[in-house]
Every structure is written in structure tokens, then in C-alpha cells.
């Protein structure tokens, strides 16, 4: 089938605290804003109707919560492979990410815990500013 190559899951023993996760960037084009509504089925107009957004006091339309958490979760699932389990995810939306902007989604291993647990920092950057800081925990397999 089509899909990308599948690197093996990192073993818990091989993960280093401070290790950076491979992130990705997305341009928030008008087409992606449409894909956002399609993908999330969130029809609240502040995410697709410029007049509505501006009337509410915002600069423009901006990506919604489900899009943001999807980005953060993708950084985890890209990194941890098939055998990891996403245990938790928490994030704050400090300022909107508007159409026309480009976001970069990043992550870093913060701490290793017992039973395969790995705590991570995640964040979304936009023009050098962290607009969405977050944390997560995943469970990784042991090397054996």
C-alpha cells in the first residue's frame, strides 16, 4: 500500500532525556483551513468565516483545537512508531494561529519514568513565538 516507510519504535532504553523529536511545519493556507473544517467537522464560524471572526474581535480566522491537538499528537505518533501508546496530552492555546501563517510543531524528551513511560514537551511555534505549549506522556516498549 502507499504509506510512508515505517521506522521501528524506539525502545525505552534507547531514548535520551533532552532528545529532540522530528517535527514538521504546516502552512495555514486557505485550502488547509477548508481541510481543517472537513477533518474536524468543527463548523464554528470563527475558524472559517472572516467576517464572523473579525466581528468577534479577532484578526482573522484561526485553526481550531482539534487541528492543534492533531498536530501535537502527530509529532508523538511519527516518533514512537507502531508499538508506542500515547498516554496523555495537555496543551494551552496562548494565541491564535491565523490563516496565512506557518506553524512548526516540535517536541523534546523531558524525562524517562518507570514502566516504559516517557514524558515530553511539545509546542507549536509561529514566527518564532510559542503559541501552543504542551506536555505529553507515552509508553514505549522495552528493548527486549
Amino acid at each position: 500500500m502507499s504509506g510512508r516507510p515505517r521506522p521501528p519504535s524506539p525502545a525505552w532504553e534507547d531514548v535520551r532525556e533532552g532528545e529532540e523529536l522530528k517535527g514538521f511545519s504546516l502552512e495555514l493556507t486557505p485550502t488547509r483551513m477548508v481541510a481543517q473544517v472537513s477533518g474536524t467537522q468543527d463548523f464554528y464560524p470563527v475558524h472559517h468565516d472572516r467576517d464572523f471572526a473579525r466581528q468577534a474581535g479577532h484578526k482573522d480566522i484561526f485553526i481550531n483545537t482539534a487541528f492543534i491537538r492533531g498536530c501535537l499528537c502527530r509529532v508523538l505518533t511519527d516518533w514512537m512508531g507502531d508499538d508506542g501508546f500515547v498516554k496523555s496530552l495537555s496543551f494551552q492555546m496562548r494565541r491564535p494561529n491565523f490563516v496565512g501563517e506557518t506553524i512548526s510543531v516540535r517536541g523534546r524528551v523531558r524525562k524517562k519514568g518507570p514502566d516504559g513511560r516517557v514524558d515530553l514537551e511539545l509546542w507549536i511555534e509561529n514566527a518564532g513565538e510559542v503559541t501552543v505549549p504542551g506536555t505529553a506522556a507515552v509508553i514505549l516498549p522495552a528493548r527486549s
Partner: protein, 165 residues
């Protein structure tokens, strides 16, 4: 009449909706659309039917059409507030089990806390914290989600002193 947040807290904090099942089972096509919006080529999601963890509440809801109680929005809208514009500020998820295509998911929502604290958007902003519990067809809890939602007025409503509650 001035907005009485104490009365609203008394009426709504602790309110919980009954368990409602998602309209459809976990399906491939919504997962594909989720992946499309994120440029996510992960074959576990696109080809093998694993549900992206963050989609569990999507499949536990009735969706936006036909009109229904869609996720927490109708619940939040029933809570009296000066404004009716919503922003989701924080979200937390915890997962307990994986979910795959064919599973049935349902959810119940609880109003955990209501506060009034002014923001740059509106001096009468109201903060509503909710908790959603998502279960599968065996009624095993697969995930819990909390949301912090800000409800505010439009600049025009603020300028004219309008309050809906």
C-alpha cells in the same frame, strides 16, 4: 440585572449529561480526512484502521449534522453567560485503551467549574471547565478529556454594554 456568577455556579457546577453514543462506529473515511488536514501519511491510521488518539471524542459524538447535541458546545451554550462567543483555551487528554475502526464510542460531559474573570477580549469573560468521559462498546473508559472554555462578548456588545445574562 447584574450577572450573578454565584447563582450560575450553584445551578451548573456538577451537572452531567447522560451517556450518548456516537452516531456511527469508528470509520476509515473521517480518519483519512483527519490525516489529510495534517499531511499525516501514517499507514497505521490510513490503512490499518487504528484510530488517532485525538479522534476518540469525534467518534463519540453525534457530529454536527443532523442538528443534535454535538460534543460539549450545546451544554456550554445552555449555561447563562454575558456573551456567546467561545474560545477553547486549554485541553487535557488521558487515554486508557487503543481504539480501532469498528469500535463504538460514547461520551458523557460534566461541568466541573465556572468562574468569571475579565480578559483582554471582555471584562465580563466567563471561564467554564468541562470533563468528558469516553467509553467503548463494552463501556470501558478509553479516554478522559478536560476543556477550559472562555465565553466572551463581541467588541460591539462590550461597547454598548449588552449582556445576555
Amino acid at each position: 440585572m447584574a450577572y450573578d456568577v454565584k447563582e450560575v455556579k450553584k445551578q451548573w457546577e456538577g451537572y452531567e449529561t447522560p451517556l450518548r453514543w456516537g452516531r456511527y462506529p469508528v470509520e476509515h473515511e473521517p480518519i483519512r480526512r483527519h490525516c489529510q488536514m495534517l499531511d499525516d501519511m501514517n499507514p497505521r491510521f490510513l490503512e490499518e484502521g487504528h484510530c488517532p488518539p485525538v479522534m476518540v471524542d469525534y467518534f463519540a459524538s453525534l457530529g454536527p449534522y443532523p442538528p443534535s447535541d454535538y460534543d460539549i458546545l450545546p451544554l456550554v451554550r445552555r449555561i447563562p453567560t454575558p456573551g456567546d462567543r467561545l474560545i477553547n483555551l486549554n485541553q487535557e487528554f488521558e487515554w486508557f485503551q487503543p481504539v480501532k475502526v469498528g469500535d463504538r464510542l460514547g461520551a458523557s460531559h460534566k461541568v466541573v467549574a465556572i468562574h468569571q474573570r475579565g480578559t483582554k477580549l471582555d471584562p465580563l469573560s466567563v471561564w467554564i471547565r468541562t470533563e468528558t468521559t469516553i467509553v467503548n462498546q463494552n463501556q470501558d473508559v478509553v479516554a478522559r478529556r478536560t476543556n477550559q472554555i472562555l465565553v466572551h462578548r463581541t467588541p460591539e456588545e462590550i461597547a454598548t454594554g449588552v449582556s445576555r445574562a
